[in-house]
Symmetry: C2
Subunit: 207 residues, 2 copies
Amino acid sequence: EIPRPTLERLPLYYRSLSLWREQGIITVSSVDIGRDVGVNVVQVRKDLAYFGEFGRPGVGYNVEYLMDELGKLMGFTTETKAVLIGAGRLGTAVVSYGGFKRYSVKIAAMFDTDKEKIGTEVSDVPILDMAYLPQFLGENEIELGIITVPSLAAQEVADILTANDIKAIWNFAPVSLQVPEEIKVRNEDLAVGLATLCYFLNKEKKD
Amino acid sequence: EIPRPTLERLPLYYRSLSLWREQGIITVSSVDIGRDVGVNVVQVRKDLAYFGEFGRPGVGYNVEYLMDELGKLMGFTTETKAVLIGAGRLGTAVVSYGGFKRYSVKIAAMFDTDKEKIGTEVSDVPILDMAYLPQFLGENEIELGIITVPSLAAQEVADILTANDIKAIWNFAPVSLQVPEEIKVRNEDLAVGLATLCYFLNKEKKD
Ligand SMILES: NC(=O)c1ccc[n+]([C@@H]2O[C@H](COP(=O)([O-])OP(=O)(O)OC[C@H]3O[C@@H](n4cnc5c(N)ncnc54)[C@H](O)[C@@H]3O)[C@@H](O)[C@H]2O)c1
Ligand SMILES: NC(=O)c1ccc[n+]([C@@H]2O[C@H](COP(=O)([O-])OP(=O)(O)OC[C@H]3O[C@@H](n4cnc5c(N)ncnc54)[C@H](O)[C@@H]3O)[C@@H](O)[C@H]2O)c1
């Protein structure tokens, strides 16, 4: 079983590797990885050792090989089909962010209740009428629902998703969702990243 | 010294406590906290034990008291002044998200190069001309810069911030910024949260 903190770091290593591959870099060291991601080099080696012997002492890691291994392990090489509900500021920023393609997540469609948005597109993703969501989920094998609606609408949206066989929910609305046990929910809160930064800022002031 | 994983969880506890305080709840147990945040109850007790004896066995934690203690410790009770550069989809979503007030972060102004946006406001925060940024930083004691511009512009923005005594940068652009050692940088990548969710989705398929 892989510890949770290690799991949270692997996508960061994968991102660094994919940027290096684009630049044509063949091998990197654990020091390179640690510096790029901001993680202690001993921790990098410990994390990667969970999956077998990738690096050779003094030679480093082969970028292509390590990326393939991590990709297979984390499921980044198989496509995950998603829908996004709430095509507002945050929703459209999420859809137009290219960073998700690296993990093979495909946002098939967005859904909204705003008549002015329905029928338009953002980054080639259509915005469809919320009334059509149950049928769309039934016709396509959608595994993931991304919720970027206002808090008051979030639970009602989650209910529609869970009633139509969604497997996982990525929730940005600042509410705790009530969903069946077997549905995986990840609550994203940007404020947490900011709060951690505040801690280091204030620690410095006190020291 | 508080371990990093503990530090990342404290803002989540703080958020739960602030939502309970708003609902008028006086005491909560470590089980309540663990369930709301999605963390194992033993871990909750271990995390809180770093800061002293808050809870009484069988009685639980006083919401108000625990919140004050955590707030002082993490620096959430002192105001952090920030500016945001790049008033696009993501930038305006960040500014209008109420979650930051809980941590006493005040976004004093946004900056952009787009003439159509300069002179307008989002959630009472003015959008100012990028040319004015150095002067604005000199006249106000701004500690934090939030970068939500396209990747190509990110380094140039970071250079202006560091040249004008910024202390910390919260970076959303998917590039590694070169900044002086003493500046704290947090790179935020929403794709990492998504990637972790994909891991659990795919693990389920394999099992
Ligand atoms: N967790 C975070 O870090 C974070 C950061 C920013 C915003 N947010 C949250 O994300 C959400 C969206 O924020 P935003 O700034 O994009 O808001 P927004 O108002 O720009 O967008 C909300 C969209 O949801 C649509 N909508 C409303 N009710 C709906 C329903 N029942 N079904 C389908 N669509 C519906 C609206 O028409 C609109 O397009 C809010 O809940 C906000 O609190 C969270
Ligand atoms: N890290 C993540 O998880 C994540 C998620 C979504 C978007 N992003 C990134 O955030 C950034 C913004 O995305 P978006 O969807 O909001 O884009 P956007 O095009 O909607 O907004 C960018 C804004 O920056 C302004 N701008 C451009 N150059 C500037 C400069 N030199 N100085 C000041 N302002 C400038 C533009 O006028 C525009 O208002 C991009 O780099 C994107 O890759 C990151």
